[in-house]
């Protein structure tokens, strides 16, 4: 019987180990949010950094964030954005990085752009508006990324709603974000009111009232935080919409 060279056996062992590692990698990569990002491909530098750092990602993310402040002070858009996004990549589960990156892109960069073009006096209002809208869209894209990686953090959704409201002046879009925030695992008590308010201001008054009422009766009535304030706003809506008494929310014992 022809004897197989031990080198062949050892090499086959190595190739086999490599083949098996594909299977094991597929099993764990989904559990590592830093690695399983879909948008990592174009940012190969981030991939390299992630690969090399191993367990120090959080610490380096913090240091990177601190460094980004230097670029923020200088109004260096490219440097600031790169470092902030790197911090997000290194610690994608952190709400803080996503939220503040979204703020910087959605609010600050537009102003820096206008100043770079000569200031508010020189740049025409419609062009300014276009710049605000463009950066607001970019900011929203960052917020969406953050929501995906933080498992639907309500704080980021609220921030997205605010950006849509203030910069895009799109109340319906803002309402959609606030509504998503009310469906998150932990919901701030004011999210429901913000959703109803923006729907109301977008002209969907009846829909706003119906939705708000359902939420109040289902979840908020028992909540000490906002229940009295929310009921006050619902009463206002009932008055505005002239809702018949028998169809209104029954009077509460503690209501003044």
């Amino acid at each position: 019987m022809h004897r197989v060279s031990p080198w062949v056996v050892a090499s086959l062992l190595l190739l086999g180990a490599g083949a098996y590692s594909e299977t094991s990698w597929k099993g764990v990569r989904q559990a590592v949010p830093e690695i399983s990002r879909k948008d990592l491909e174009p940012t190969l530098g981030q991939g390299v950094l992630l690969g090399i750092l191993g367990g120090l990602r959080t610490v380096v993310a913090d240091a990177t964030w601190l460094r980004s402040y230097v670029f923020w002070e200088r109004r260096d858009r490219a440097g600031c954005e790169a470092l902030m996004k790197t911090a997000c990549a290194l610690d994608p589960r952190s709400r803080f990085f996503w939220e503040n990156t979204g703020y910087a892109v959605g609010y600050d960069f537009a102003h820096w752009e206008i100043r770079r073009r000569g200031g508010y006096a020189k740049v025409a209002p419609d062009i300014q508006e276009g710049i605000f809208r463009r950066y607001a869209q970019l900011g929203l894209a960052i917020f969406e990324d953050g929501v995906e990686h933080t498992g639907g953090n309500s704080g980021i959704l609220i921030s997205a709603g605010q950006l849509a409201e203030i910069k895009l002046k799109d109340n319906l879009l803002a309402a959609a974000y606030y509504r998503r925030a009310t469906q998150a695992k932990t919901v701030p008590w004011f999210a429901y009111f913000m959703c109803a308010r923006t729907m109301w201001e977008a002209g969907q008054k009846k829909e706003a009232y119906e939705w708000y009422r359902t939420q109040w009766l289902g979840k908020l009535k028992k909540d000490e935080d906002g229940a009295p304030d929310d009921l006050e706003r619902l009463r206002f809506m009932e008055d505005e919409l002239k809702v018949p008494v028998q169809l209104r929310i029954p009077r509460q014992t503690w209501e003044k």
């Binding site: 180990a17 590692s21 299977t23 094991s24 099993g27 559990a31 367990g55 601190l66 952190s94 803080f96």
Partner: protein, 278 residues
């Protein structure tokens, strides 16, 4: 078989005793421990991560960085010390095969790496537990949910890191078996570790459909087979802080993968060492 095990275990024992006495080992252990302990006082730098994650990350970083340096330098140093001091001459003139010698060196080194990893993991566990107790009290006062960490997850992570360092040590031993100098071994070993940490990029590229050339795909395929994917061992965040996000089967598959690589590299090292003239 008993005689082989006895000889191998004696080589391992003496290697362990030699390694544990080295100041380099003590220095890196103390440095890692300081890093873990200092994480609590550096909390002001924490930008909104879960505080336990921030604290845990220091230990993960220490195990990763200093553990890798230890595995690389100590394995090479323990091997070349035997060659340069010519103790290898004395030992290999005895009825000790080269495979037994190499295996003994590896096991002794791996045992020291185990002491390093489990010491840091234990310290990390104490720090995390202590901070968790404080956060539980704070959470009760503010009506929030108290954070927690998984002790079994921490133990699993420590085992994975120990296995990862074993793979690194086996790789370095393979390089040592053919290299002529300690410096060359350290440089090539360091490059191999970096390649191992980045190998996941090649595997990702292969998993995704692309229009890359046959040559590129072939190179990616070869590198993904030959270079171990060390990134798969870095799942400390998930194991310790969110253990439900990863299944036991996935963790076991990483363990198996590590063991396969270990055996393969040791086999190659043994074959290369047999041809080496002492």
């Amino acid at each position: 078989m008993n005689a082989r095990l006895t000889r191998t275990s004696w080589i391992a024992r003496i290697t362990f005793l030699e390694a544990i006495r080295q100041r380099f080992f003590a220095f890196l252990l103390v440095l890692s421990a300081v890093m873990v302990v200092s994480s609590v006082s550096l909390r002001f730098m924490d930008f909104g991560h879960s505080e336990l994650k921030f604290v845990a990350d220091f230990a993960f970083g220490g195990m990763f960085l200093f553990g890798s340096v230890l595995a690389l330098v100590m394995t090479a140093q323990l091997f070349f010390a035997e060659i340069e001091n010519r103790t290898a001459l004395t030992l290999l003139a005895k009825p000790l095969s080269r495979t037994e010698f190499l295996l003994g060196k590896f096991l002794g080194t791996w045992a020291v790496l185990g002491v390093f990893v489990f010491s840091i993991a234990f310290l990390q566990g104490v720090i995390l537990w202590s901070r968790t107790q404080e956060l539980i009290v704070l959470a009760a006062e503010t009506g929030r949910v108290a954070p927690d960490f998984s002790v079994s997850g921490l133990a699993s992570f420590a085992v994975l890191q120990w296995l990862r360092l074993g793979v690194v040590a086996a790789m370095v031993l393979m390089v040592s078996a053919v290299a002529r100098t300690f410096l060359f071994t350290v440089i090539v070993g360091a490059m191999a570790i970096v390649a191992g940490q980045l190998q996941w990029l090649a595997q990702e590229a292969l998993l995704k459909p692309s229009d890359a050339s046959v040559v590129t795909k072939s190179l990616l395929w070869i590198s993904s087979r030959v270079i171990p994917n060390l990134q798969q061992f870095n799942i400390g965040d998930t194991l310790v802080l969110d253990p439900t996000a990863i299944s036991g089967a996935a963790v076991w598959s990483v363990v198996l993968s590590g063991l396969f690589y270990l055996v393969a590299f040791l086999a190659l090292a043994s074959l290369a060492f047999r041809r080496r003239e002492i």
